[in-house]
């Protein structure tokens, strides 16, 4: 695979965010409008996608039917009443649910210990947010920045003092739903993120067009319009701003590792996945052996990363808009049994006018986010005739299909690195948590590190058809400090205040407790609280900065693995499961190490559970040993029959011994008889 001439990075970024494609030939040229509905070429103001695209598409309908925009904001509840949530969670979606891995807490209506304001959320977690919803409106329904608003809506965290300070919404503007990010081929997500991080929220949509030539960055972080790039009538044209269905690369701006085009996977970002929550899943038509990773046994792995990506199945083919007439299917609860396919469809025009942006969703392992959409996606058997194909070689194919998800055999391994553990109980000198990775030995940002990949753990999951199937997952453990009254996660600000004496320097108490080799600095192997004394030292520091009764809490989060599907390399041999080393019982490292005295458990809002035991590994790690029996399955060739086998063996051996003894006695007796006669 040869790399193209020319700067690899620019090309790679372009390829990563969107393969140049023609867009829909039907889309008319579009004048870009600002929030007041005036042409931006005249006013110079930021582009408003809602007004621009809303000229033809029902933007209000779209924003009202778009979980990507609302992220649970429209299903918010009082803190503590979210099913499976924490006492401070206000929704089950990414806006309102505490994420242990980032350890930032946005709680509307729960202003105990201010950590994230909405403006802060936009600039950190919200970099992956498409805009609109909570990034534009407050709880009251009025735009952010109006007089009435809760503390997180009006304030942001002052990084120096740790106290809330007013946020000037008039200067920053709010973030509108950004149609361009997904629908413009070649959209520049990096420019958008930079603009959001800089606090210039209203320019985010304009920044997304940075690669089209229509806008040029100005000195103050805003953008200026390039008049020559527009048509005679001040509109864009298809060649500059190709508009169409989102490509896989568009979804890949935030989700998974999507790589289209000639640049090998890993050429730019080494082994670190772009999406830290992806579990290492790569959605690409490239062969694993053609990637740029230093992958073990790479030459042998000539299969493509994902067979659907190879076969040109795009994200939106499965995760389609729920009212897309080409893909719409009526829900099972209302569809009469005699109708396999209802040919009545909405017209394409109706769809284009009011396309729902609620996308079909499978049976997630964390079901409460967008729970109304759960199970709306077609599963494998909607396209593949499982029994027709597997019935030819797999005995009891139907039984296997009832016990195992398709992914259990078709995602046998993930040839990439994934986050294994995030440890917020100590910080490095830069104030960051320690992150441990699975599937790579060596630093994840070093292209020379050996990527080994990992084999997922199979967890039982209750599916929409009522059956419990084993689904491959990865597990991420996060260790955090909780404290205060009421008990809340300790803010990173407070952690830094407690553990660091200044930028880049640890507090002397912390050094004293953790610096084992007495070299004055803490390297990664020392940054772990694996002894009670170390825990006590950090606890003392936290109490010194005012945290009451701090304790360490561990959280295990499952991520289902549904991409990276292989076809011929799927698990096929019976002995993979029906033998002693069955992969159904394969141990899976859950935590690289356990801080002294800490315990951890699976998040409460998961649809999967750990059927087995968590045991301590030899090296201080925490290992999950699955037990198929606990998951409700007896596995021939693997499980034993308990006391029956022991009894049977006893009988057999006993009889054999008795027989031997009897025979010996007979032989002796016969010899004695011969001698005497």
């Amino acid at each position: 695979m040869r790399l193209p001439a020319g700067p690899v990075v620019a090309l790679a970024l372009g390829a990563l965010v969107g393969l140049a494609h023609a867009g829909s030939p039907m889309h008319p040229d579009v004048p870009l409008l600002d929030t007041e509905g005036n042409r931006v070429l005249e006013t110079g103001k930021p582009v408003s996608p809602v007004r621009t695209c809303g000229q033809c598409h029902d933007a209000e309908f779209i924003e009202g039917h778009d979980f990507h925009a609302t992220l649970g904001f429209d299903e918010r509840k009082a803190p503590g009443t979210v099913p499976g949530g924490r006492p401070w969670d206000t929704s089950a979606g990414p806006f309102g649910r505490w994420d242990p891995a980032t350890n930032r807490r946005l709680a509307l209506g729960d202003e105990t210990s201010f950590d994230l304001g909405v403006a802060d959320w936009i600039r950190t977690v919200g970099l992956r947010h498409v805009g609109g919803g909570p990034a534009r409106l407050g709880e009251s329904g009025k735009p952010l920045g109006s007089e009435s608003g809760s503390l997180p809506e009006t304030h942001a965290l002052d990084a120096a003092t740790g106290r809330p300070v007013r946020w000037d919404w008039a200067a920053s503007g709010t973030v509108e739903l950004n149609c361009f990010l997904c629908h413009v081929a070649g959209a520049r997500d990096d420019a958008r993120r930079a603009t959001l991080a800089a606090g210039r929220f209203e320019w985010a949509a304009t920044a997304t067009l940075a690669g089209t030539g229509l806008v040029a960055p100005a000195a103050d972080g805003t953008y200026a319009y390039v008049r020559e790039a527009f048509t005679r009538w001040g509109a864009t044209d298809r060649t500059r701003m190709p508009l169409g269905r989102p490509t896989a690369a568009a979804c890949g701006a935030c989700h998974l590792d999507v790589v289209e085009g000639p640049v090998p996977v890993g050429a730019v970002e080494a082994a670190r996945p772009r999406d830290p929550r992806s579990g290492g899943q790569v959605f690409s038509a490239q062969r694993v052996s053609d990637s740029a990773w230093n992958l073990r046994d790479k030459e042998r792995r000539t299969h493509v990363f994902d067979v659907h990506a190879e076969r040109l199945v795009g994200c939106t083919d499965c995760h389609h808009s729920l009212n897309d007439p080409a893909r719409f299917v009526e829900a099972d609860v209302s569809r009469p049994r005699h109708l396999a396919y209802d040919a009545r469809r909405a017209s394409v025009g109706e769809f284009v006018r009011r396309p729902s942006h609620d996308l079909a969703k499978g049976t997630s392992s964390r079901p409460h986010a967008a729970s109304a959409l759960d199970g709306t996606m077609r599963r494998c058997d909607a396209c593949h005739d499982v029994l027709e194909d597997h019935g030819r070689w797999l005995p009891s194919a139907r039984r296997h299909a009832q016990a195992l998800s398709c992914e259990a055999c078709h995602v046998p391994e993930v040839p990439a690195a994934a986050v294994a553990q995030t440890d917020w109980t100590v910080l490095d000198a830069a104030g960051r948590p320690m992150v441990a990775w699975r599937g790579v030995s060596g630093p994840v940002d070093d292209p020379a590190s050996l990527v080994t990949g990992y084999q997922p753990v199979l967890l039982p999951r209750k599916e929409s058809d009522g059956r419990t199937r084993l689904v491959p997952h990865t597990l991420e453990t996060t260790w955090t400090w909780w404290g205060g009254s009421p008990e809340r996660p300790v803010r990173p600000f407070d952690l830094r205040a407690a553990l660091l004496a200044g930028p880049g320097v640890h507090h002397r108490d912390v050094l004293a407790a953790l610096d084992v080799d007495r070299d004055g600095s803490l390297d990664p192997s020392e940054l772990r609280l694996d002894a009670p004394a170390k825990v006590a030292a950090v606890r003392a520091r936290l109490e010194a900065v005012g945290i009451e009764r701090p304790r360490i809490v561990g959280t295990i989060e499952p991520t289902g693995l549904h991409h990276g599907i292989v076809s011929r390399e799927a698990t096929r041999s019976c002995e993979a499961c029906h033998a002693d080393g069955s992969l159904l019982a394969r141990p899976f490292e859950v935590a690289r190490y356990v801080p002294s005295g800490a315990t951890t458990e699976l998040v409460a809002d998961a649809r999967v559970w750990l059927a087995g035991r968590l045991v301590a590994g030899a090296d201080g790690s925490l290992v999950y040993e699955p037990s198929p029996k606990e998951a409700g399955r007896y596995v021939l060739g693997h499980d034993d029959a308990g006391w029956i086998d022991r009894l049977g063996l006893l009988l057999l051996v006993g009889t054999a011994l008795g027989v031997a003894g009897h025979a010996a006695a007979r032989a002796l007796a016969a010899r004695r008889a011969r001698r005497s006669s």
């Binding site: 140049a20 494609h21 052996s289 493509v304 190879e310 040109l312 030819r392 070689w393 005995p395 194919a397």
Partner: protein, 526 residues
Amino acid sequence: MRAKALALLVSLVVLAGLGFAWLAAPGGEAAPPRDDPRAHLPAFPAPTDHAAFFTAPFADGPSVTKACLACHEGAAKEVMSTTHWTWDGAHAKHPDTGADVPLGKRTAVNNFCIGIAANWKRCTSCHVGYGWKDDGFLGRAGPVDVDCLVCHDTSGTYQKDPVGAGAPDPDTDLLAVARSVGRTTRASCGTCHFKGGGGDGVKHGDLDETMYFPQERVDVHMGRHGLRCADCHRTEHHAVKGRLMPPTEDLGTRVACADCHVDRPHGDARLDAHTATVACQTCHIPEYAVETGTKEWWDWSKAGRDGDPEAVAEAVREEVLAGGEAAKGVPPRILHGLRRVGTDPDLRTHYDKKKGLFLIARRQVPEYRWYDGTTARHVPGQRYDGPEPLPMNEPQGRPHDPRARIWPFKVHRGRQPFDGQDHHLLVPHTHGLGGYWTTFDWEKALRTGAAASGIPYSGTLDWISTAMWWPQNHMVQRKEKALRCADCHGTGGRMDWKALGYPGDPAVGGGRVQVGLVDGATEGAK
């Protein structure tokens, strides 16, 4: 007796039980016919060491042949009945005069060195005989004029004199060569076929000197599996299988992938279905000229300029890119290539005073055409009034014919002498005394060439752009490097569906059967 009867009954029950159990148990894997190409390789007799047979040195080539014929009596006659000797392939009827015109190398006109008439001494250095220095050679040559050594030398030291009309290079030790004879090797064929068109890799696009001992990434058959040419180009009685774009299908003389491989070897239903529409070569030869550049453009009209060849090349290139007279007849694809010379490491120009301007390219994506095995061959001397480029051997085939497949081609384009009055291609005298390569006088060269070739020259010289198709069969890549779905289908794919006759991408619109292109769809219905 009763026991015996019961025993028989038991046996029957046993069989029934086994059968029942076998039926009840799930069937074994449905095994597709296994692809076992090695089983189809030709078996060669064990080689005989010829070292003991020859002791005295040989005076010349025919002396060696005489010695060969002492044992291999009929060999020379066999060779003389093949195209390697006659340089005469199929025949066609001249569309204007109705005369019978042979289309083989002896009389053909191409867009490389154009024709051998009057240039025999140079061109026949690649003939499998000694002494073809004029038109009458074939009439008077006998068996001892067959060159056994050029194919059967295994010492690697046999060379033909490049301007010797087929005679060996005077420095060659013929005795050593004779003693080394054996089965043909890749070098036997490559010594001529890799250098067609006047240099390494110029002509075919998929044959060049990297194929003597290719790495696996150049060609998987010869690189990884060590196959020789004769393993696929089966030879019986010296008649070598394999034809390049004959006018008719001529199936008995062709080489096919299916000679060794089964029809559906992929183990994947979707890929196997492609074999009804796409030739094996299309997916398994993703690019040609993998290592060494091949000629894409030969502009004779720019020949004759003095000066440092690199400087002249650059000057001519700039003239062409500037437009105007110099760019007349230069196709857009070539202009695009000339533009990228300097920035694209796979493209370069070369200038030769004798021959003109070349554009040489490496690692190119082939052009794809329907091909049903027949070709519309331009007949030497045929009048042509159509648009440029003049197609010299256009592959025939339409999607409507279920036997046609999509094939990969290297298209060699050129600009060559054309009779301005009578509108036919001209054959110049290039090599030798009085030829263009010594006099740089087109008028003289064309007159002499006309006399030798029989194609008249009216005196009005014009230039015409031509195109010649070369199907790609070698430089097959290993299966992991084959084209995949996104290489052809979807946005960014390399196929021009409209040009191939499809209404749209067949992956989403349906194949040629489904969209109603194929006549009487029975075969190829999947």
